[in-house]
């Protein structure tokens, strides 16, 4: 090893430890038979997973969160496709301003979005429910979806769609047969990003869900009870595994899409 690189290497190692050590602790304590989160570990058990599975509120929170995340990701991706295509293909008056306002929630403090949404919804007499959370999540996921999709759309040669149209297809046919398959990796990425943003979103869910629990709000509420913590650890473990699977899947599709059109494997997450 080069002596000069010593400091930087130590820095990199500490950085990664700080990032991942807490996550590695999750499965350790999820399988630990003791109720107290402390070393030494006591014994191996899968009780916490069983308890987690038996917890009706948790199951409800999980179903809610999945429903919200799936709806919000599909909605934000669909809207995102419209916005990304419009902004990359067409010029229209006020385009810069409109796009800026659509992208603004990305940098706006979420608490402001949540609060103002709550005030407006209550003022309009809208009942708080999963639907209101879906609306809120769609709003904050859209900028991310658009950012991913705009890249996909703008890297597409404009004449591809024109060529399909020129060869006798309708405009919709050209979009469906040429554009859509070519931006599909982008669409999948947008879906995945929106899904993960929505799944662990706390503030908007906390403000707009009414009495319905979502995964993050449920976990937060359980942290007050020390006895529930190993169950939360088990839940965390499941979520980590799920995220890794999702990430791997997304990357797999992205690379496959790239390979199919002969693109270079640049960008992406892995």
């Amino acid at each position: 090893m080069n002596r000069q690189g010593w400091g930087l290497q130590a820095y990199a190692i500490f950085y990664l430890l700080f990032l991942y050590a807490p996550i590695i602790l999750l499965p350790l304590f999820a399988f630990n038979s003791g109720t107290i989160i402390a070393f030494p570990l006591q014994g191996i058990t899968t009780d916490w997973f069983a308890q987690m599975w038996a917890d009706a509120t948790l199951r409800r929170a999980l179903t809610n969160s999945l429903m919200i995340a799936v709806s919000a990701s599909i909605l934000s991706t669909c809207f995102g496709i419209f916005a990304a295509r419009a902004s990359t293909r067409f010029g229209f008056p006020g385009k810069g301003g409109i796009m800026a306002f659509i992208m603004l929630p990305m940098v706006l403090p979420e608490i402001i979005v949540a609060m103002s949404l709550l005030v407006v919804l209550l003022g309009m007499g809208v009942q708080l429910s999963l639907l209101t959370v879906i609306a809120g999540h769609t709003l904050i996921c859209m900028p991310y979806a658009i950012a991913v999709l705009s890249t996909a759309f703008s890297s597409l040669d404009r004449s591809l769609e024109e060529a399909a149209y020129d060869l006798g297809e309708t405009k919709w046919g050209a979009f469906r047969l040429v554009t859509l398959p070519l931006v599909m990796p982008g669409i999948i990425s947008a879906l995945l990003i929106s899904f993960t943003i929505s799944l662990d979103e706390f503030i908007i869910a906390f403000f707009l869900a009414g009495n319905e629990p979502t995964l993050p709000t449920y976990i937060f509420s359980q942290l007050r009870f020390p006895r529930a913590i190993p169950v939360i650890m088990a839940l965390g473990t499941v979520l980590v595994v799920l995220s890794i699977v999702l990430l791997a899947l997304g990357e797999y599709f992205r690379r496959r899409g790239n390979a199919r059109i002969g693109g270079k494997p640049t960008g992406g997450l892995l």
């Binding site: 004449s159 024109e162 060529a163 149209y165 020129d166 060869l167 199919r260 002969g262």
Partner: protein, 371 residues
Amino acid sequence: MTDKPMIQCHGVHKYYGDYHALRGIDLTIRSGEFFSLLGPSGCGKTTLLRTIAGFEDISDGAILIDQKRMDEVPANKRPTNMVFQSYAIFPHLTVAENVAFGLRRDPRGKAEKAAAVDEALAMVGLAGYGARSAHALSGGQRQRVALARALILKPKVLLLDEPLSALDRKMREQMQVELIKLQRQVGITFVLVTHDQEEALVMSDRIAVMFEGEIAQLDGPEALYARPATRRVADFIGVMNFLPAQVISEAGGIVTAEVAGLGRVDLPATQISRANPEDEGPMVGFRPETMTLLGPGATHSQPRETNATIDEVVYYGDMTYYDLRLDGAARLDGKARTVRISMRNVFGRDVQEVGTRTRLAWSPGSLVLFR
């Protein structure tokens, strides 16, 4: 080629907001013709091609294809197909799927379509490439796929938007010849957009030279090269020498002019073209290969001879370019002025040296007066 008109443009105007991209284009392209739109970038040639294809609406005027007005006909219903500058090969499809793309709405059976695809691929020299992935092709092969994909639909007009500009020089020259052959074989009207004057001269039956949204000259390659209608066209196509001239008299369609370095010449109306607006007075132009540099003691059959000094020699192997100071025109307006002469290095002809006193043989028939 016949005299039947295939494409007619009548007073075609195109505005992009305030920008006047096409300024009254009147043009008839004949059936079976290899026609080129030539001009610098931004002259409107691609815009004109795209209005013919139907990708752009026209602001005023009319476009007819095969005697039918195209105002309400969208691009996917026009009897035209386009080869794009980027080729626009669908990267997610195979070569065969690309070529068969336009046959999706064709009622023929699968086997017949496959046969048509094979035939189209064979025509462009890509027989057996059908199963390959389109993104694995070279530039020249993509170009051929784009051609096959367009020609399989048997369009009345094939539109080519700078199809060779992305190829290297060797490949480009090879494709030029192949395109000419292909066009003769299929007999379809080809309309080529190019900024490369050499390419236009090599390939076209007729060429429309465009500047700033207008057609400056429409002629066959030889006429365009030998008799440019304006000095701007002359500057754009090939190399032309210019010498200031003074019109002495005009009688019976013959202009008598005093040309710096060359003396007095009589020029008929066919040798008179328009000067550029910024030109100060008339100019006489001639191409480098129209005059002959004489070796010591050489004789010639040209009507005129002028003495000159060799200022620079540029040797190209097959050709030598000489920059000459003509006696009587070595300095004009206080600036050194040379003219360029090209000589083919045929066997037995020596390359002359810088500083040599030499003679130039020429004929007034090779001059063009721009006034």
